[in-house]
């Protein structure tokens, strides 16, 4: 069936089966930054943001269910050449190694910071507990989210040196 998905602000016309998962539709649309890791909604590497405010594991949704919603993926986070504070912070704090969990982790953190702009370490760890990482041991991911929280609360252009 033919559907139209609005991903990162642009409309994509896609041909899908009713059973096609949202993650497959996003990836088939050429946006391969959203990954697949477990097939059981455990790992979170497929996390995207729905309507700017809800983190969704895109393997838990059919593509057809996403019609009419605004989907944001990792490719929609930077503004031109300017990285989103979370992307900058993951780089600054060495919050990634192999990079496979990173897009999902950033999208989950993005929603976490919207709901709680100034989270404690414990709140970050709880908020990201639906996303697995095998490389970093999470410690630098937590630091990255803390840095991004600071950056987002500072006026634009101010440096967020750690």
């Amino acid at each position: 069936m033919e559907i139209t998905l609005k991903i990162n602000g642009s409309e994509k016309k896609l041909s899908v089966e009713p059973r096609t998962l949202l993650v497959h539709a996003i990836r088939d649309a050429g946006l391969t930054g959203t990954h697949i890791g477990c097939d059981s909604s455990s790992c979170g590497v497929c996390t995207v943001v729905l309507d700017g405010k809800t983190a969704v594991k895109s393997c838990t949704m059919f593509a057809v269910q996403a019609e009419g919603h605004e989907i944001t993926t990792i490719e929609g986070m930077a503004q031109g050449d300017k990285l989103h504070p979370l992307q900058q912070a993951f780089h600054d704090q060495h919050g990634l190694q192999c990079g496979y969990c990173t897009p999902g982790m950033i999208m989950a953190a993005h929603v976490l910071l919207q709901h709680n702009p100034n989270p404690t370490e414990e709140e970050i760890r709880f908020g990201l507990s639906g996303n697995l990482c095998r490389c970093t041991g999470y410690q630098n991911i937590v630091k990255a989210v803390q840095q991004a929280a600071q950056m987002l609360q500072q006026p634009a252009g101010a440096a967020a040196d750690d």
């Binding site: 890791g37 477990c38 190694q97």
Partner: protein, 799 residues
């Protein structure tokens, strides 16, 4: 314009010891990594596999007719089709062979039985579900101790009459090999004369590396050119190319293996798997590219498991705590085929590092491997070939001995460490340790955690009935395989290559035969070259993973990249510098003997103002080379390391245990590592965080278990538990630096030390918390249930 890292700030010349941010991050943080499943080729087909529901069964019939009726399904193959191409079985890295698709019988649950090729991934999955297989179940062998019973069912009928294998005689159809090292008689004699002896049985359970990106492959046979391009999630692309050439008989020049970005490997992506072979065969037969990407269940149930060592140790000591001898017997459960990924001469890997950091005069170890109805493997999961098992064995046993002697475990270790003046140290089991300062590292760790105060606190808490424990692990690793005199895989020596091409404008491309999966080579290799050549680190591109362009090398696993390719990189750079010096002399109009390399520039000896930079030399290499000198500035270096490297560390863990629930809370964990020279402290710390987390996972959560019918009980992430941010402790890291005397930059490798060293620290802490209740050992994973049962059987009230 900064082209390579448009979003990231420039760095300049950044050599060893600098915590510069990673160059490779640029693509990953914006979702532009290029992992295997991100690659799509025109006309590409998809493959899905049919798996066995039984752990041991005869295959009576395979009916593919319904599958072939599904729209989009192009073909289905079974072992019979592979046999026509001579590919129904393939050799394993361990000198055994394994079925690609089940040939007459299945030997483990989820074993691959048929491959389905289709136009879409959905049609391939539908096709696989429609293949009808008729089985006749057979009795299974799950317990390795029962594998060689006289009446045990014969698993490998293909070799049941071969009473000799790749590693010596076999005493039973289910016995693979027996390997031993050290002097049995002398060790037994020393044990008999020891004042104190301890014996302990312990199991290092079967585990799985489970990188978040599953394994996958795209076979792309171009019939017009005769060239086969294979995109594969492999940690060792060159070794794969050679093996593919040997197995398929396609000339090696007609095979190109590309290992794209890898979403974690941890040893899982070293072997050749049936799915890879079927994707390649499919492409050759169907004349189109074929993609196969594992499901998570396929990953956990069929690809390389790790560990599964069942160990018995005996240690002798004097009454005042000086160790005298150790004897080890290990039963290794290798599953249905011996597909362990070890250097060929070492069927039990480097397990003989089991004397650890201690000065044992006598030692003997024997390892016996058996077949069972489980998936094949025995990969080095974030570990240098069975070092994790060895390190856990000795570090756990030192605590058992301390308990027996009523000695503090730190004091017992300090009493038995190999001393700095003893290096190079010949171990009782045949290794020559390069360098170390174990006492210093332990003392730094004890000081950092406040060990003596913690012991006081523990005594007070114990008096109040509270449970708190302190665990120590002072491990020694053995990594960097390895010197070609001892180390090869299927005859291919384990040296590594590096290539450097300096361009006229002072930038460079460097390539290595290794393949990073998160270790940061694109940054650290550039730092080595920046250090040696004085080039701007941003102007050095690092490329790995394409066998058409990279120099030969055996890949990235077993913490070998820095000890091997890192050495090659430094020596390639020095070879470039030798030539550059001649060009510098020409530019400075002095003799070469009057030129020296100072502050990353060539200058006339004693005349600081008169110098040229490497950028100027590079330009001259192409525009103004000295007469008679070959123009250009590039080289390839193959580095055959003279010895292995021996990183070490001291870890201290503090746990509190909830008496009611059995929950173990890791309160603090201090990890002091000594990996020799540090290239990038930020990356080293990141490696340690990740390795500790995998050690924590093994100690408390991860286990690949089976029921008595051989059903796999951990086939997805809801049953095979990985730690999330919530469970994972906060790590406190630090280091001492004892450079390797034989490595070109003194580096030893670090990626695996924390996974190797930490499990014993966790288990020692838990056992220490319960020691006064008579507990001497608990096998991993230490679940709440296990602790709860220990507490209840010890009569401890829940509240």
């Amino acid at each position: 314009m900064a082209v390579q890292t448009p979003n990231l700030e420039p760095k300049g010349i950044q050599g060893l010891g600098k915590a510069i941010k990673r160059k490779e991050d640029a693509r990953f943080i914006v979702g532009k990594g290029n992992y295997l499943d991100d690659i799509n080729l025109p006309g590409m087909l998809y493959m899905a596999l049919v798996h066995s529901p039984y752990a041991h069964a005869k295959i009576l019939n395979i009916d593919t007719s319904e599958a072939l009726k599904i729209p989009g399904v192009k073909a289905v193959i079974t072992a019979k089709d592979l046999a026509a191409a001579g590919l129904s079985w393939i050799p394993t890295l361990a000198g055994d062979k394994q079925m690609v698709l089940a040939d007459g019988k299945v030997l483990y649950q989820h074993q691959e039985v048929a491959a389905v090729y289709a136009e879409t991934r959905q049609a391939a999955a539908d096709g696989a579900a429609a293949v009808q297989v008729e089985y006749e179940p057979l009795p299974v062998v799950v317990d390795p101790y029962k594998a060689t019973a006289p009446d045990a069912p014969v698993l490998r009928e293909d070799i049941k009459d071969q009473m000799s294998g790749a590693h010596g005689p076999r005493r039973h159809p289910n016995h693979i090999w027996t390997w031993e090292v050290g002097s049995k008689d002398e060790t037994e004699k020393a044990l008999a004369q020891s004042e104190v002896r301890i014996k302990q049985h312990m199991v290092y359970p079967r585990s799985h590396p489970a990188p978040l990106e599953p394994c996958g492959c795209i076979g792309d046979m171009n019939k017009a050119t005769g060239r086969l391009t294979v995109y594969m999630t492999t940690q060792a692309p060159h070794a794969i190319r050679t093996v593919l050439s040997l197995v398929t008989k396609i000339p090696e020049n007609n095979i190109r293996v590309i290992s794209p970005d890898i979403g974690g490997g941890f040893g899982n992506k070293v072997p050749v798997y049936p799915g890879y072979v079927c994707a390649i065969v499919g492409s050759i037969v169907l004349g189109a590219p074929v993609k196969w990407v594992e499901t998570r269940t396929e990953n956990l149930t069929t690809t390389g498991f790790a560990r599964d060592f069942h160990m018995d140790i005996e240690i002798g000591a004097t009454k005042d705590g000086k160790v005298t001898a150790m004897k080890v017997y290990t039963l290794a459960d290798h599953g249905a085929f011996d597909a362990a990924a070890d250097p060929s001469k070492y069927p039990a890997g480097l397990f003989s590092i089991c004397t650890g950091s201690y000065d044992f005069q006598k030692a003997y170890a024997q390892v016996e491997a058996v077949y069972t109805n489980k998936a094949p493997g025995g990969v080095a999961y974030r570990c240098s070939f069975r070092v994790t098992e060895a390190s856990y064995l000795i570090e756990r046993s030192m605590d058992v001995l301390a308990h027996e002697l009523k000695m503090d475990p730190a004091e017992l270790r300090l009493k038995n460490f190999i001393q700095p003046h003893q290096f190079p140290y010949p171990s009782a089991l045949g290794w020559t340790y390069d360098s170390g300062d174990y006492e210093k590292t332990l003392k730094v760790a004890l000081e950092r955690i406040g060990y003596h105060e913690l012991r006081k606190e523990q005594a007070e808490k114990r008096a109040r009935g509270e449970l708190m424990g302190i665990g120590i692990s002072t491990f020694t690793e053995i990594v960097g395989a390895g010197p070609s005199k001892d180390f090869d895989i299927l005859g291919i020596k384990m040296f590594d290559g590096a290539e450097i091409r300096v361009h006229p404008t002072g930038s460079a491309i460097v390539r290595a035969g290794t393949r990073h999966q998160g270790q940061g080579h694109e940054t650290t290799w550039a730092q080595i070259v920046s250090e040696e050549l004085g080039l701007d680190v941003d102007k050095i591109i690092v490329e790995e993973g394409d066998t058409d362009t990279a120099p030969y090398g055996l890949g990235t696993y077993a913490s070998r990249s820095t000890p091997t390719a890192g050495g090659a990189m430094a020596l390639a750079a020095r070879r470039i510098r030798e030539k550059a010096k001649k060009i510098a002399a020409h530019l400075l109009e002095v003799s070469e003997n009057d030129v020296e390399w100072v502050d990353k520039k060539f200058q006339v000896k004693g005349v600081p103002g008169k110098s040229v930079t490497m950028n100027e030399v590079a330009f001259a290499a192409y525009t103004n080379p000295p007469p008679g000198l070959e123009p250009g500035l590039e080289t390839t270096y193959y580095y055959d390391p003279p010895n292995l490297t021996f990183p070490h560390g001291a870890y201290v863990c503090v746990v509190d245990i909830d008496k009611g629930t059995g929950e173990v809370k890791v309160r603090r964990f201090v990890a002091i590592d000594d990996c020799g020279t540090i290239i990038n402290p930020m990356i080293v710390e990141g490696q340690v965080h990740g390795g500790l987390t995998e050690g924590f996972a093994m100690a408390f959560m991860q286990e690949i278990a089976f029921d008595e019918q051989g059903n796999h009980l951990a086939s997805n992430f809801t049953d095979y538990l990985l730690p999330t941010a919530l469970e994972t402790p906060k790590w406190e890291t630090g280091h001492t630096v004892t450079p390797s005397p034989h490595h070109p930059i003194g580096a030893k490798g670090v990626g695996e030390s924390p996974t190797v060293g930490s499990p014993a620290a966790f288990v020692n802490a838990v056992v220490d918390a319960l020691a006064h209740l008579g507990v001497r050992h608990i096998d991993m994973p230490i679940t709440r249930e296990k602790v709860w049962r220990v507490l209840r059987s010890a009569g401890i009230d829940a509240f």
